[in-house]
Assembly symmetry: C2
Homo-oligomer: 315 residues x 2
């Protein structure tokens, strides 16, 4: 799968053995939106992304492990930005605008959580050729957790790029869902909760056929960011974040549960005019779906092929 | 003014010479809500307060200076809570639920912002007899900033307690508004932007009469928390946060502007049944109004008289 990081963005990853941070940097600012549909979100600076709020540019979006503790990653991202003079300027001060969401990956005895330093390091590592897979926020991600972690599948971060109507749209998603991941192109489960014999139990089918599962009292959450070089206003960026959730609905079952804090962001760097938002809404859902499948199928060793030259030649 | 911190809550303050944090602790959990009406908010963990989200208890709400940098205070509050075993328990881990909002008080050459340590210290200082005034988040607060800080009025944190229908409701508000503070009981400005001769210019009247002001490109924000011992569900807690904004509208003009991130929280500890929410909605608007006036008139030396014995005797 060929991935393009659209113009105006860098992607940084940092992790230890257990958890990590993926940061989408748009130092000069991008128009941002978000849609939080899961029942158990952990978020920071999402209010200012609503269309009626005045802040018209975001400097970074981050996705982090560590549950709510991971929201500390923003402190380091803000420091990195401020030291370089990036951020909203007011009253003689620079305030970087950094929004983000976290996943629950506290799967070990100790509390291994991203810190401000992890966020700072992700910025230091920022490039147009991130690795995804089990790096960054993907480090501790798993899916299919209805029977607990022991029967879950290892996942990670996936991405998918769509080029349509003269713009580039790339979805990056960290899959850490309670539900199973389906590939809608085949109708088959590609990652999920397993029976004792290692086969997928199919959580949804089990539930709708009246089966009773001993619910694992865990926490989950799928998070992602849709990057585009399109010129969008805030309402449109929020619409694309919403459209992206269609991709989650297609590829994860069940999704948006009370035990998932599913949240998608959208960042638009504004390099290219948009003639028809429908094309981008369609692309957003599709790209998120394929990013989910990539995160699930290639989570352990995600092979990204970058198409930098093509993108560079456009300018 | 007699202040009662309702049962189930402690209030902690920490500050340096320039900025600070006020934290409302409900270690055993309280039902929370929020309403963010200003155009330029800085917030953390507000999505989970929406009625449709599953998180039914919050462990703390914080109000901090430092603009978005001050959101780091939550990291320290989370650490304090976790070390004491307070928080949402899932998958063998404790995740304290800490929501909050910040004000812009970066009024000095250096960046003086609250840190995780300030949040931790506020928890260490928690009691049922906080000082308010210029302590905690009130340290750097000012109001009436249409002509810039030089012509603004010093304010701070104010509080007001109402007892109605067998429950106690206390609003605590940090006034850092762009607009002027009016006392609706007299119709007079009590803190606000001043003319060169030191008299209040009356920002609203100046604007509606067609006057042109050289707008100071600053940032502002009024934040607060309504504490009650009432037994509320999440929808009701959100409704009280909304009702509180009526108090801001009455006492601050203009308010909820694009340069204010005005956000109110509500925490309900659930000790007392509620027969009629109308009584509490009325009380919320009134208490917020009086808290704003108190923050403005007594911001520099706020004298709080506590009524602890009465409250204690109720149990």
């Amino acid at each position: 799968m060929k991935i393009i990081i659209p113009k105006g963005f860098l992607v940084g990853e940092a992790q230890d053995d257990f958890t990590g941070v993926t940061a989408f940097l748009c130092p000069r600012g991008a128009v941002g939106g978000a849609d939080c549909r899961g029942g158990a979100p952990g978020t920071r600076e999402t209010d200012l992304l609503r269309p009626e709020k005045m802040m018209d540019k975001v400097n970074a979006v981050f996705l982090a492990g560590g549950s709510a503790y991971g929201l500390a990653a923003a402190d380091g991202i803000m420091r990195w930005m401020r030291e370089r003079g990036y951020g909203y300027r007011t009253a003689g001060k620079i305030v970087p605008i950094v929004s983000g969401a976290v996943i629950f990956d506290l799967n070990h005895k100790e509390y291994h959580t991203p810190t401000a330093e992890t966020g700072f390091e992700a910025c230091e590592n920022a490039s147009r050729t991130p690795t995804f897979g089990q790096n960054g926020v993907g480090r501790g991600a798993t899916a299919g957790k209805i029977r607990g972690l022991r029967y879950a599948s290892k996942t990670g971060v996936g991405a998918c790029t769509v080029k349509t109507a003269g713009v580039t749209l790339t979805a990056v998603v960290a899959v850490n869902a309670l539900g199973d991941v389906f590939d809608p192109e085949t109708g088959k489960i590609v990652a999920g909760a397993k029976a004792n014999d290692g086969s997928f139990i199919d959580t949804e089918k089990h539930i709708v056929s009246g089966g009773l599962l001993k619910l694992f009292a865990g926490a989950n959450t799928t998070v992602g960011c849709i990057l585009t070089d399109a010129r969008l206003d805030k309402v449109q960026a929020n619409k694309l974040a919403s459209a992206g959730h269609g991709g989650l609905s297609r590829a994860i079952r069940p999704v948006h549960t009370d035990f998932d804090g599913d949240t998608l962001f959208c960042l638009a760097s504004g390099k290219k005019p948009v003639l028809n938002l429908l094309l981008l809404q369609t692309a957003a859902a599709y790209a998120v779906e394929r990013a989910v499948v990539a995160a699930a199928t290639e989570g352990a060793a995600y092979d990204v092929s970058y198409d930098e030259s093509e993108e560079d030649s456009e300018e």
